[in-house]
Amino acid sequence: MKVTVDEDKCCGAGTCVLVAPDVFDQRDEDGIVMLLDEAPAADQHDAVREAASVCPAAAILVAEA
Protein backbone atom coordinates (compact mmCIF):
# COMPACT_ATOMS: atom_id res chain seq x y z
CA MET A 1 0.00 0.00 0.00
CA LYS A 2 1.21 3.49 -0.90
CA VAL A 3 -0.30 6.56 0.77
CA THR A 4 -0.16 10.15 -0.50
CA VAL A 5 -1.68 13.30 0.98
CA ASP A 6 -2.67 16.60 -0.65
CA GLU A 7 -1.69 19.41 1.72
CA ASP A 8 -3.50 22.02 -0.35
CA LYS A 9 -6.81 20.20 -0.03
CA CYS A 10 -6.34 19.35 3.68
CA CYS A 11 -8.67 21.32 5.96
CA GLY A 12 -6.94 20.27 9.19
CA ALA A 13 -9.93 18.43 10.64
CA GLY A 14 -7.68 15.80 12.24
CA THR A 15 -10.03 12.95 11.38
CA CYS A 16 -7.16 10.85 9.99
CA VAL A 17 -5.10 11.30 13.17
CA LEU A 18 -8.00 10.12 15.32
CA VAL A 19 -8.40 7.01 13.13
CA ALA A 20 -4.77 6.13 12.29
CA PRO A 21 -2.38 7.99 14.62
CA ASP A 22 0.59 5.80 13.61
CA VAL A 23 0.33 6.92 10.00
CA PHE A 24 -0.96 10.51 10.16
CA ASP A 25 -0.21 13.55 12.28
CA GLN A 26 -0.86 17.30 12.04
CA ARG A 27 1.70 20.09 11.92
CA ASP A 28 1.77 22.15 15.09
CA GLU A 29 1.93 25.46 13.21
CA ASP A 30 -1.22 25.13 11.09
CA GLY A 31 -2.89 21.76 11.73
CA ILE A 32 -2.20 20.48 8.21
CA VAL A 33 -1.68 16.75 7.70
CA MET A 34 1.75 15.14 8.02
CA LEU A 35 2.27 11.68 6.57
CA LEU A 36 4.33 9.66 9.02
CA ASP A 37 4.48 6.49 6.99
CA GLU A 38 3.85 6.42 3.25
CA ALA A 39 4.10 2.60 3.10
CA PRO A 40 2.33 1.45 6.27
CA ALA A 41 2.52 -2.14 7.50
CA ALA A 42 -0.35 -4.52 6.83
CA ASP A 43 -1.83 -4.13 10.33
CA GLN A 44 -2.44 -0.44 9.54
CA HIS A 45 -4.17 -0.93 6.19
CA ASP A 46 -7.75 -1.02 7.47
CA ALA A 47 -7.24 2.12 9.55
CA VAL A 48 -5.60 3.93 6.60
CA ARG A 49 -8.46 3.01 4.26
CA GLU A 50 -10.93 4.24 6.86
CA ALA A 51 -8.98 7.49 7.31
CA ALA A 52 -9.02 8.07 3.53
CA SER A 53 -12.73 7.38 3.24
CA VAL A 54 -13.75 9.66 6.13
CA CYS A 55 -11.40 12.56 5.27
CA PRO A 56 -13.76 15.54 4.85
CA ALA A 57 -11.52 17.09 2.21
CA ALA A 58 -10.75 13.86 0.30
CA ALA A 59 -7.09 14.76 0.75
CA ILE A 60 -5.77 11.20 1.32
CA LEU A 61 -5.08 8.87 -1.60
CA VAL A 62 -4.41 5.18 -1.13
CA ALA A 63 -2.87 3.07 -3.88
CA GLU A 64 -3.23 -0.63 -3.12
CA ALA A 65 -0.17 -2.65 -4.11
Binding site: G12, G31, P56
Partner: protein, 403 residues
Protein backbone atom coordinates in the same frame (compact mmCIF):
# COMPACT_ATOMS: atom_id res chain seq x y z
CA UNK B 1 -45.27 24.52 -9.46
CA UNK B 2 -47.04 27.52 -7.97
CA UNK B 3 -45.72 29.48 -5.07
CA UNK B 4 -48.14 27.99 -2.57
CA UNK B 5 -47.09 24.43 -3.46
CA UNK B 6 -43.50 25.05 -2.50
CA UNK B 7 -42.18 22.85 0.28
CA UNK B 8 -41.39 24.83 3.40
CA UNK B 9 -37.86 24.35 4.73
CA UNK B 10 -36.89 23.32 7.37
CA UNK B 11 -39.40 20.47 6.94
CA UNK B 12 -41.47 20.07 10.08
CA UNK B 13 -41.42 16.65 11.69
CA UNK B 14 -43.56 15.23 14.48
CA UNK B 15 -41.37 12.56 16.05
CA UNK B 16 -38.14 13.81 17.63
CA UNK B 17 -36.02 10.81 16.65
CA UNK B 18 -37.59 9.85 13.29
CA UNK B 19 -36.76 11.33 9.87
CA UNK B 20 -39.46 13.36 8.09
CA UNK B 21 -41.32 11.20 5.53
CA UNK B 22 -40.38 13.72 2.82
CA UNK B 23 -36.68 12.76 2.85
CA UNK B 24 -37.15 9.42 1.05
CA UNK B 25 -39.36 11.01 -1.54
CA UNK B 26 -37.00 13.93 -2.11
CA UNK B 27 -33.95 11.70 -2.52
CA UNK B 28 -35.68 9.29 -4.89
CA UNK B 29 -37.92 11.59 -6.93
CA UNK B 30 -36.86 15.18 -6.45
CA UNK B 31 -33.18 15.32 -5.52
CA UNK B 32 -32.94 18.98 -6.57
CA UNK B 33 -36.05 20.54 -5.00
CA UNK B 34 -37.40 24.06 -4.78
CA UNK B 35 -38.17 25.12 -1.22
CA UNK B 36 -39.24 28.22 0.69
CA UNK B 37 -37.23 29.29 3.75
CA UNK B 38 -38.51 30.96 6.92
CA UNK B 39 -37.48 34.29 5.35
CA UNK B 40 -39.92 33.67 2.48
CA UNK B 41 -36.95 33.44 0.09
CA UNK B 42 -36.74 30.51 -2.31
CA UNK B 43 -33.82 28.13 -2.41
CA UNK B 44 -32.86 24.76 -3.88
CA UNK B 45 -32.64 21.80 -1.52
CA UNK B 46 -30.33 18.84 -2.15
CA UNK B 47 -30.75 15.62 -0.15
CA UNK B 48 -28.65 12.95 -1.92
CA UNK B 49 -25.26 12.09 -0.43
CA UNK B 50 -23.31 12.62 -3.67
CA UNK B 51 -24.97 15.97 -4.40
CA UNK B 52 -24.47 17.31 -0.88
CA UNK B 53 -20.84 16.21 -0.86
CA UNK B 54 -20.25 17.69 -4.36
CA UNK B 55 -21.69 21.09 -3.44
CA UNK B 56 -19.94 21.36 -0.08
CA UNK B 57 -16.59 20.22 -1.49
CA UNK B 58 -16.59 22.64 -4.44
CA UNK B 59 -14.09 25.36 -3.53
CA UNK B 60 -15.79 27.83 -5.88
CA UNK B 61 -18.87 28.18 -3.71
CA UNK B 62 -19.25 30.11 -0.46
CA UNK B 63 -22.19 30.97 1.79
CA UNK B 64 -23.21 33.95 -0.30
CA UNK B 65 -22.83 36.29 2.65
CA UNK B 66 -23.38 39.81 1.39
CA UNK B 67 -24.77 38.71 -1.99
CA UNK B 68 -27.95 40.64 -2.64
CA UNK B 69 -29.77 37.76 -4.32
CA UNK B 70 -28.67 35.01 -1.90
CA UNK B 71 -31.57 33.45 0.04
CA UNK B 72 -31.84 34.38 3.73
CA UNK B 73 -32.37 31.85 6.51
CA UNK B 74 -34.35 33.82 9.08
CA UNK B 75 -37.57 35.83 8.96
CA UNK B 76 -35.75 39.01 9.99
CA UNK B 77 -34.51 41.91 7.88
CA UNK B 78 -30.88 40.80 7.72
CA UNK B 79 -31.78 37.13 7.29
CA UNK B 80 -30.03 35.68 10.32
CA UNK B 81 -26.78 34.04 11.25
CA UNK B 82 -25.00 33.85 7.88
CA UNK B 83 -25.46 37.57 7.30
CA UNK B 84 -24.71 38.67 10.86
CA UNK B 85 -21.87 41.12 11.40
CA UNK B 86 -19.96 38.34 13.15
CA UNK B 87 -20.14 36.18 10.02
CA UNK B 88 -19.29 38.96 7.57
CA UNK B 89 -16.19 40.11 9.49
CA UNK B 90 -14.52 36.70 9.13
CA UNK B 91 -12.85 35.93 5.79
CA UNK B 92 -15.36 33.78 3.90
CA UNK B 93 -13.37 32.15 1.14
CA UNK B 94 -10.16 31.92 -0.87
CA UNK B 95 -6.73 32.75 0.49
CA UNK B 96 -8.08 34.92 3.33
CA UNK B 97 -10.25 32.11 4.65
CA UNK B 98 -7.42 29.60 4.30
CA UNK B 99 -4.99 31.79 6.28
CA UNK B 100 -7.58 32.39 9.05
CA UNK B 101 -8.55 28.73 9.13
CA UNK B 102 -4.94 27.56 9.52
CA UNK B 103 -4.23 30.14 12.21
CA UNK B 104 -7.22 29.05 14.29
CA UNK B 105 -7.24 25.40 13.21
CA UNK B 106 -3.92 24.62 14.84
CA UNK B 107 -5.63 24.98 18.25
CA UNK B 108 -8.04 22.19 17.32
CA UNK B 109 -5.69 19.45 16.15
CA UNK B 110 -6.34 15.85 17.17
CA UNK B 111 -3.18 15.88 19.32
CA UNK B 112 -4.27 18.98 21.25
CA UNK B 113 -7.71 17.47 21.76
CA UNK B 114 -6.17 14.27 23.16
CA UNK B 115 -4.22 16.42 25.61
CA UNK B 116 -7.54 17.91 26.83
CA UNK B 117 -8.98 14.46 27.57
CA UNK B 118 -8.08 14.24 31.29
CA UNK B 119 -9.51 17.72 32.00
CA UNK B 120 -12.73 17.05 30.08
CA UNK B 121 -13.14 13.65 31.77
CA UNK B 122 -12.72 15.25 35.22
CA UNK B 123 -15.41 17.81 34.33
CA UNK B 124 -17.76 15.06 33.08
CA UNK B 125 -17.23 13.15 36.33
CA UNK B 126 -17.95 16.26 38.37
CA UNK B 127 -21.23 16.82 36.49
CA UNK B 128 -22.25 13.20 37.15
CA UNK B 129 -21.37 13.66 40.86
CA UNK B 130 -23.73 16.65 40.96
CA UNK B 131 -26.48 14.69 39.18
CA UNK B 132 -26.16 11.79 41.58
CA UNK B 133 -26.20 14.15 44.58
CA UNK B 134 -29.35 15.90 43.29
CA UNK B 135 -31.10 12.57 42.61
CA UNK B 136 -33.17 11.41 39.66
CA UNK B 137 -35.09 12.00 37.47
CA UNK B 138 -32.97 14.71 35.92
CA UNK B 139 -32.86 16.54 32.60
CA UNK B 140 -29.63 15.23 31.10
CA UNK B 141 -29.43 18.17 28.68
CA UNK B 142 -29.41 20.81 31.44
CA UNK B 143 -27.35 18.79 33.91
CA UNK B 144 -24.73 17.27 31.60
CA UNK B 145 -25.04 17.75 27.83
CA UNK B 146 -25.05 21.54 27.94
CA UNK B 147 -22.55 22.42 30.71
CA UNK B 148 -19.79 20.06 29.52
CA UNK B 149 -19.01 21.67 26.13
CA UNK B 150 -19.64 25.18 27.52
CA UNK B 151 -17.00 24.57 30.19
CA UNK B 152 -14.55 23.18 27.61
CA UNK B 153 -14.85 26.05 25.12
CA UNK B 154 -14.82 28.68 27.90
CA UNK B 155 -11.66 27.12 29.29
CA UNK B 156 -10.05 27.12 25.83
CA UNK B 157 -11.01 30.75 25.17
CA UNK B 158 -10.26 31.93 28.68
CA UNK B 159 -13.75 33.34 29.41
CA UNK B 160 -15.68 32.52 32.61
CA UNK B 161 -18.21 29.69 32.22
CA UNK B 162 -20.26 31.32 35.00
CA UNK B 163 -21.50 33.62 32.20
CA UNK B 164 -23.00 30.66 30.38
CA UNK B 165 -26.62 31.79 30.76
CA UNK B 166 -25.64 34.89 28.74
CA UNK B 167 -23.96 32.78 26.04
CA UNK B 168 -27.03 30.57 25.79
CA UNK B 169 -29.27 33.59 25.13
CA UNK B 170 -26.88 35.26 22.66
CA UNK B 171 -26.38 31.98 20.88
CA UNK B 172 -30.13 31.31 20.57
CA UNK B 173 -30.63 34.81 19.15
CA UNK B 174 -27.79 34.36 16.68
CA UNK B 175 -29.08 30.97 15.51
CA UNK B 176 -32.72 32.04 15.40
CA UNK B 177 -34.75 31.47 12.25
CA UNK B 178 -38.18 32.45 13.54
CA UNK B 179 -37.90 32.90 17.28
CA UNK B 180 -36.67 36.47 17.70
CA UNK B 181 -37.30 39.81 16.01
CA UNK B 182 -34.64 41.76 14.15
CA UNK B 183 -34.42 44.23 17.09
CA UNK B 184 -33.95 41.44 19.63
CA UNK B 185 -31.28 39.84 17.48
CA UNK B 186 -29.46 43.14 16.92
CA UNK B 187 -29.54 44.01 20.64
CA UNK B 188 -28.24 40.63 21.58
CA UNK B 189 -25.47 40.67 18.97
CA UNK B 190 -24.36 44.07 20.12
CA UNK B 191 -24.17 42.89 23.77
CA UNK B 192 -22.32 39.76 22.74
CA UNK B 193 -19.86 41.77 20.60
CA UNK B 194 -19.20 44.20 23.47
CA UNK B 195 -18.69 41.30 25.88
CA UNK B 196 -16.13 39.60 23.65
CA UNK B 197 -14.38 42.89 22.76
CA UNK B 198 -13.98 43.52 26.50
CA UNK B 199 -12.43 40.08 26.95
CA UNK B 200 -10.01 40.62 24.09
CA UNK B 201 -9.01 43.95 25.72
CA UNK B 202 -8.42 42.18 29.04
CA UNK B 203 -6.23 39.59 27.32
CA UNK B 204 -4.21 42.31 25.60
CA UNK B 205 -3.39 43.76 29.02
CA UNK B 206 -2.68 40.41 30.60
CA UNK B 207 -2.10 37.31 28.50
CA UNK B 208 -3.41 34.03 29.86
CA UNK B 209 -2.96 30.39 28.94
CA UNK B 210 -5.81 30.43 26.41
CA UNK B 211 -6.63 30.62 22.73
CA UNK B 212 -7.65 34.31 22.65
CA UNK B 213 -4.35 35.31 24.25
CA UNK B 214 -2.43 33.21 21.75
CA UNK B 215 -4.40 34.58 18.79
CA UNK B 216 -3.58 38.17 19.81
CA UNK B 217 0.11 37.41 19.21
CA UNK B 218 -0.36 35.01 16.30
CA UNK B 219 0.49 36.02 12.74
CA UNK B 220 -0.38 34.43 9.43
CA UNK B 221 2.13 33.06 6.88
CA UNK B 222 2.92 36.64 5.80
CA UNK B 223 3.55 37.82 9.36
CA UNK B 224 0.28 39.74 9.73
CA UNK B 225 -1.66 39.64 13.01
CA UNK B 226 -5.46 39.30 13.14
CA UNK B 227 -7.37 42.60 13.29
CA UNK B 228 -9.30 43.36 16.47
CA UNK B 229 -12.63 42.90 14.66
CA UNK B 230 -11.57 39.48 13.41
CA UNK B 231 -10.32 38.49 16.88
CA UNK B 232 -13.65 39.43 18.46
CA UNK B 233 -15.68 37.67 15.75
CA UNK B 234 -13.47 34.59 16.03
CA UNK B 235 -14.05 34.47 19.79
CA UNK B 236 -17.80 34.82 19.29
CA UNK B 237 -17.90 32.24 16.52
CA UNK B 238 -15.92 29.67 18.52
CA UNK B 239 -17.99 30.23 21.64
CA UNK B 240 -21.29 29.67 19.82
CA UNK B 241 -20.06 26.88 17.54
CA UNK B 242 -18.20 25.30 20.43
CA UNK B 243 -21.14 24.60 22.65
CA UNK B 244 -24.55 24.72 21.02
CA UNK B 245 -24.04 21.94 18.47
CA UNK B 246 -22.10 19.60 20.76
CA UNK B 247 -24.44 20.13 23.72
CA UNK B 248 -27.37 19.13 21.54
CA UNK B 249 -25.50 16.21 20.02
CA UNK B 250 -24.53 14.74 23.40
CA UNK B 251 -28.19 14.84 24.36
CA UNK B 252 -29.43 13.39 21.07
CA UNK B 253 -26.82 10.61 21.10
CA UNK B 254 -27.87 9.48 24.57
CA UNK B 255 -31.54 9.70 23.53
CA UNK B 256 -30.90 7.46 20.49
CA UNK B 257 -29.13 4.86 22.61
CA UNK B 258 -31.74 4.85 25.37
CA UNK B 259 -34.78 4.94 23.06
CA UNK B 260 -33.92 1.31 22.24
CA UNK B 261 -32.00 0.26 25.32
CA UNK B 262 -30.43 -2.77 23.57
CA UNK B 263 -28.18 -0.18 21.88
CA UNK B 264 -27.03 1.18 25.24
CA UNK B 265 -26.42 -2.36 26.45
CA UNK B 266 -24.42 -3.22 23.34
CA UNK B 267 -21.91 -0.43 23.89
CA UNK B 268 -21.97 -1.01 27.66
CA UNK B 269 -20.88 -4.61 27.02
CA UNK B 270 -18.13 -3.51 24.66
CA UNK B 271 -16.76 -0.01 25.35
CA UNK B 272 -14.44 -0.35 22.33
CA UNK B 273 -17.56 0.56 20.36
CA UNK B 274 -17.59 4.12 21.77
CA UNK B 275 -15.78 5.61 18.77
CA UNK B 276 -17.96 3.99 16.10
CA UNK B 277 -21.08 4.66 18.22
CA UNK B 278 -20.32 8.38 18.27
CA UNK B 279 -19.83 8.43 14.48
CA UNK B 280 -23.04 6.47 13.92
CA UNK B 281 -25.01 8.80 16.21
CA UNK B 282 -23.69 11.75 14.17
CA UNK B 283 -24.78 10.03 10.95
CA UNK B 284 -28.15 8.91 12.29
CA UNK B 285 -29.19 12.30 13.73
CA UNK B 286 -32.43 13.38 12.06
CA UNK B 287 -32.65 16.60 14.01
CA UNK B 288 -29.42 18.26 12.90
CA UNK B 289 -30.91 21.66 12.13
CA UNK B 290 -30.89 23.74 8.99
CA UNK B 291 -27.92 22.24 7.13
CA UNK B 292 -25.46 24.32 5.12
CA UNK B 293 -26.05 26.90 2.41
CA UNK B 294 -23.98 27.56 -0.68
CA UNK B 295 -24.45 30.37 -3.17
CA UNK B 296 -23.87 28.92 -6.62
CA UNK B 297 -22.27 31.54 -8.86
CA UNK B 298 -21.40 29.22 -11.74
CA UNK B 299 -23.88 26.80 -13.32
CA UNK B 300 -23.49 23.18 -12.17
CA UNK B 301 -25.31 19.90 -12.70
CA UNK B 302 -26.60 17.85 -9.77
CA UNK B 303 -28.30 14.46 -10.28
CA UNK B 304 -28.68 15.38 -13.95
CA UNK B 305 -30.48 18.65 -13.14
CA UNK B 306 -28.94 21.94 -14.19
CA UNK B 307 -28.58 24.41 -11.33
CA UNK B 308 -28.21 27.95 -12.70
CA UNK B 309 -25.80 30.58 -11.45
CA UNK B 310 -27.42 32.74 -8.77
CA UNK B 311 -29.06 29.81 -6.97
CA UNK B 312 -28.86 29.37 -3.20
CA UNK B 313 -28.46 25.66 -2.49
CA UNK B 314 -29.36 24.26 0.92
CA UNK B 315 -27.48 21.04 1.69
CA UNK B 316 -29.31 18.72 4.07
CA UNK B 317 -26.44 16.69 5.49
CA UNK B 318 -28.90 14.83 7.73
CA UNK B 319 -30.97 13.65 4.75
CA UNK B 320 -27.77 12.74 2.86
CA UNK B 321 -26.63 10.69 5.85
CA UNK B 322 -29.73 8.48 5.41
CA UNK B 323 -29.08 7.91 1.68
CA UNK B 324 -29.19 4.17 0.89
CA UNK B 325 -26.92 4.83 -2.10
CA UNK B 326 -24.13 5.80 0.32
CA UNK B 327 -24.89 3.73 3.44
CA UNK B 328 -26.01 0.12 3.44
CA UNK B 329 -29.10 -0.28 5.59
CA UNK B 330 -29.09 3.48 6.13
CA UNK B 331 -32.25 3.43 8.25
CA UNK B 332 -30.64 1.10 10.79
CA UNK B 333 -28.48 2.42 13.65
CA UNK B 334 -25.41 0.16 13.44
CA UNK B 335 -22.99 0.84 16.28
CA UNK B 336 -20.21 -1.08 14.49
CA UNK B 337 -20.50 0.76 11.13
CA UNK B 338 -16.98 1.29 9.71
CA UNK B 339 -15.99 3.27 7.75
CA UNK B 340 -18.65 5.90 8.32
CA UNK B 341 -18.06 8.82 5.94
CA UNK B 342 -21.09 10.80 7.20
CA UNK B 343 -21.47 14.48 6.44
CA UNK B 344 -22.52 15.70 9.90
CA UNK B 345 -19.50 18.03 9.98
CA UNK B 346 -19.87 19.01 6.33
CA UNK B 347 -17.12 18.43 3.78
CA UNK B 348 -14.39 20.34 1.98
CA UNK B 349 -12.56 23.51 2.91
CA UNK B 350 -15.35 24.68 5.25
CA UNK B 351 -15.95 21.42 7.08
CA UNK B 352 -16.27 21.89 10.83
CA UNK B 353 -13.13 23.39 12.33
CA UNK B 354 -13.87 21.92 15.74
CA UNK B 355 -14.75 18.38 14.71
CA UNK B 356 -11.84 16.76 16.58
CA UNK B 357 -12.99 18.61 19.71
CA UNK B 358 -16.63 17.60 19.16
CA UNK B 359 -15.65 13.96 18.66
CA UNK B 360 -13.49 14.02 21.79
CA UNK B 361 -16.29 15.55 23.88
CA UNK B 362 -18.88 13.11 22.56
CA UNK B 363 -16.61 10.13 23.23
CA UNK B 364 -15.82 11.31 26.76
CA UNK B 365 -19.48 12.09 27.49
CA UNK B 366 -20.49 8.58 26.46
CA UNK B 367 -17.57 6.83 28.21
CA UNK B 368 -18.32 8.70 31.44
CA UNK B 369 -22.05 7.98 31.43
CA UNK B 370 -21.46 4.28 30.66
CA UNK B 371 -18.88 3.99 33.45
CA UNK B 372 -20.73 6.01 36.09
CA UNK B 373 -24.41 5.36 35.30
CA UNK B 374 -24.65 1.95 33.59
CA UNK B 375 -28.32 1.65 34.58
CA UNK B 376 -29.23 4.92 32.82
CA UNK B 377 -32.68 4.91 31.17
CA UNK B 378 -35.27 7.33 29.82
CA UNK B 379 -37.67 8.70 32.43
CA UNK B 380 -40.33 9.31 29.74
CA UNK B 381 -41.45 7.40 26.65
CA UNK B 382 -39.19 8.09 23.66
CA UNK B 383 -42.19 9.34 21.68
CA UNK B 384 -42.75 12.06 24.29
CA UNK B 385 -39.40 13.68 23.50
CA UNK B 386 -39.78 17.01 21.71
CA UNK B 387 -37.62 19.00 19.32
CA UNK B 388 -36.39 22.55 19.74
CA UNK B 389 -37.93 24.60 16.92
CA UNK B 390 -37.02 27.84 15.23
CA UNK B 391 -33.24 27.63 15.56
CA UNK B 392 -30.67 26.81 12.86
CA UNK B 393 -29.20 24.13 15.16
CA UNK B 394 -31.42 21.16 15.99
CA UNK B 395 -31.85 19.56 19.38
CA UNK B 396 -34.21 18.11 21.95
CA UNK B 397 -35.88 20.48 24.40
CA UNK B 398 -35.00 18.16 27.29
CA UNK B 399 -34.00 14.58 28.05
CA UNK B 400 -35.46 13.29 31.33
CA UNK B 401 -33.46 10.27 32.59
CA UNK B 402 -33.10 8.10 35.70
CA UNK B 403 -30.68 5.35 36.76
Amino acid sequence: MTDSELLNYPISADAALEPPAEWDELRSRCPVAHVRLASGDQATLVTRYDDVRTVLSDPRFGRGTGRKDAARVANTEDGGVFNSEMATVLPQDGEGHLAWRRLVGKWFTAKRMSALRPGITAMADQLVDEMVAAGHPVDLKAAFGFPLPVWVICDMLGVPDSDRHKFAHWSDCLLSMTRYTQDEMMASMSEFGAYMAHHVELKRTERGDDLLSELIDATDADGRPLSNDVLVATGQGLLVAGHETTANMITKMVAMLLADRSRWEQVLADPRLVRSTVEEALRYDVNAGFGMMRYIDAEIELSGVSVPSGTTVVCSMAAANRDEAAFEDAARLDLTRTPNPHLAFGAGAHSCLGQALARTELQIALETLLRRLPTLELAVDADKLTRVDGLAVGGLSELPVRW
